[in-house]
Amino acid sequence: MEPVESKNINRNSRRLRIHLTVAVLLKLAALVLIWWFFFREEAVDINADFMASHLDIPAISQGVSK
């Protein structure tokens, strides 16, 4: 590859690379913010008894055997 060509490619690619890196970082930040504001406090605890209760079925009376 010619040095001048390589220089042009690098310059052009560097700018795009910066745009894409910023975009990916902003995306991750936006996702964290959505989770932080809307889901962080809403964790749903799940186990067999919770599932049964969700289906309006009684919890097991003699312990759950796995």
Binding site: S6, L16, L20, V24, K27, L31, I46, N47, M51, S61
Partner: protein, 528 residues
């Protein structure tokens, strides 16, 4: 009981994020093979134009990948945040392919894509080609595992319900992997991706040819896209037919809704091309039909019948009634796990447990079930016919239009006459959105057609959602829509900008608009 609003908002949020995610996926799936073809020609011939093609289309591929990545993470996290009960109920089966898909996507695929972009000056030609090949395989393997997971939602094989853990448990991993629904879905979906990648390259190349710029570059790109696109269009249609066969076997309700087939027709059933559907009276006011075709697609025979919606409802009525017995036996078992009679009843009826659970939408206590409620649950098992019928037909029409376009584009490439047919180039340019519309409609038909289930016949959608607050769902939905809209604008801006610059954006000195690109690279702005 679960609020209907909560269920609808959760579905809307998942649908919005999934449809958005799938704007990026098919282009990645298809472009990667086109890059492999272009680079293979470069390695074999040593002609630098083929390297330029690989690098330029690779740049657009990279923009699409970078902006698409993390939109899939949202979906995977939603299984935990919005669909926690679903995740508990079927996580034992669904979690395994999902985890493998995550590993494939985030580690294998991303690593190889990094090597593809940063390896041009660091790897020898054959080694770089090997990286491109592995990137193509890795990308498609990643799709395989997510489609195995989705195929299991359509046709849940290799698993059974445990009343002790209150969840489905995997009993046969290989049955899940080789689920015919998953295999048919995989080949159909990746072929649709190949078609999308081909259309993208064909359309942009056509635009260059219409403007008579970078002609040699555009003609070669056009040729590769035309050949690969023709093969892909044929394969999408043939594999779509296979997908129809497996859907016919496993999900007769979806098939009947797609065909607006209210009554069971004598075998072999005809294919309804178009119809005036009257959902209120559950009939078609008029229809145009091709004899035999539906029977052959759906059953591969001339003697087997495809059940109509009314017959499916009769069968489902029995299953709901049986499901009520299963739920009552489950309740008895949960109260006394040594109840032998309850265990025996449960084992005999557990295949219909999901149908019994459909009633939980209306009533908590099975003792309060009335015949009217059973009828409502049975009606729920049929998705709305009009959106299914027309969604499917628009997808198919677009598929055949693309087949015709790629056939003509391939023919004109053989004749080296691409530039002499501006009407073909304009057609190719205007067809650019077609594969995306078809892909989104395909997913709509597959997922909406599975309703009222998240896992067909096993777990109703309304029992799968997390008990979030409605305000959280409204807020997060607004957040996703706003965030994704901005992302889409950025994607379109970058794609259009670099597509307009063309191969000149590589800065090699061999293409049009080099001066413009050098100014852009130096940060002095664009000029036209």
């Amino acid at each position: 009981m679960i609020s209907e609003q909560l269920v609808d908002l959760s579905r809307l949020q998942f649908a919005a994020t999934a449809l958005y995610h799938f704007l990026f996926v098919p282009l990645t799936l298809g472009m990667v093979w086109l890059l492999l073809i272009m680079e293979s020609v470069y390695v074999m011939t040593g002609k630098v134009i083929w390297r330029d093609m690989t690098q330029f289309w690779g740049k657009l591929f990279g923009i699409n990948f970078a902006l698409g990545v993390t939109t899939g993470i949202t979906l995977e996290f939603q299984f935990g945040t919005n669909w926690a009960y679903y995740s508990h109920y079927v996580g034992d089966i669904f979690g395994a392919p999902l985890a493998i898909e995550g590993l494939m996507a985030f580690f294998l695929e991303s690593t190889l894509i990094g090597l593809f972009f940063f390896g041009w000056s660091r790897l020898s030609k054959p080694k770089h080609l090997l990286v491109t090949m592995l990137m193509a395989i890795g990308t498609n393997l990643s799709a395989l595992w997510i489609l195995i997971a989705n195929g299991w939602m359509q046709n849940p094989v290799g698993a059974e319900f445990s009343y002790q853990t209150m969840r489905m448990e995997m009993i046969d991993f290989w049955a899940v992997v080789f689920n015919p629904d998953a295999q048919a879905k995989f080949v159909h979906t990746v072929s649709a991706g190949y078609l999308t990648g081909s259309m993208f390259v064909l359309s942009i190349s056509s635009w260059y040819l219409l403007r008579k710029r970078d002609v040699e570059f555009a003609k070669r790109s056009f040729g590769v896209a035309a050949a690969f696109g023709l093969a892909s269009a044929l394969s999408v249609i043939v594999l779509g037919d296979e997908s129809g066969y497996t859907v016919g076997e496993a999900q007769q309700t979806k098939m009947a809704a797609i065909e607006a087939m209210w009554q069971t027709k004598p075998a072999p059933a005809g294919l309804t091309l178009i119809a005036g559907i009257n959902e209120t009276e559950q009939k078609n006011d008029w229809e145009v039909e091709i004899p035999w075709v539906m029977g052959l697609i759906g059953t591969r025979s001339v003697t087997r019948q495809i059940p109509g919606i009314n017959d499916i409802k009769i069968k489902n009525h029995e299953r709901v009634t049986n499901g009520i017995i299963a739920v009552k036996a489950l309740e008895a078992l949960r109260q006394n796990r040594n109840d032998v009679q309850a265990l025996s009843t449960f084992n005999a009826t557990k295949a219909d447990l999901g149908f019994g659970l459909l009633l939980k939408r209306y009533v908590s206590d099975m003792a309060q079930v009335t015949p009217a409620l059973i009828d409502r649950a049975v009606n729920d098992t049929i998705p709305r016919v009009v959106p299914m019928f027309w969604g499917f037909r628009i997808m198919v029409v677009l598929g055949f239009a693309m087949l015709a376009l790629f056939g003509l584009a391939f023919f004109s490439t053989i004749k080296v006459a691409q530039e002499k047919k501006p009407w073909l180039l304009k057609w190719a340019l205007w067809m650019l959105p077609a594969p995306w519309i078809a892909c989104e409609l395909g997913w709509f038909v597959a997922e909406y057609g599975r309703q009222p289930w998240t896992i067909y016949g096993v777990l109703p959608t309304h029992l799968s959602v997390s008990t979030l607050s409605v305000n959280s769902l409204y807020g997060s939905l607004a957040g996703f829509i706003g965030f994704y809209t901005i992302l889409l604008v950025v994607e379109m801006y970058l794609m259009i900008r670099f597509a307009k610059q063309g191969p000149g954006s590589l800065g090699t000195g061999r293409y049009a608009f080099e001066a413009m690109n050098h100014e852009a690279a130096n940060g002095t702005g664009e000029k036209k």
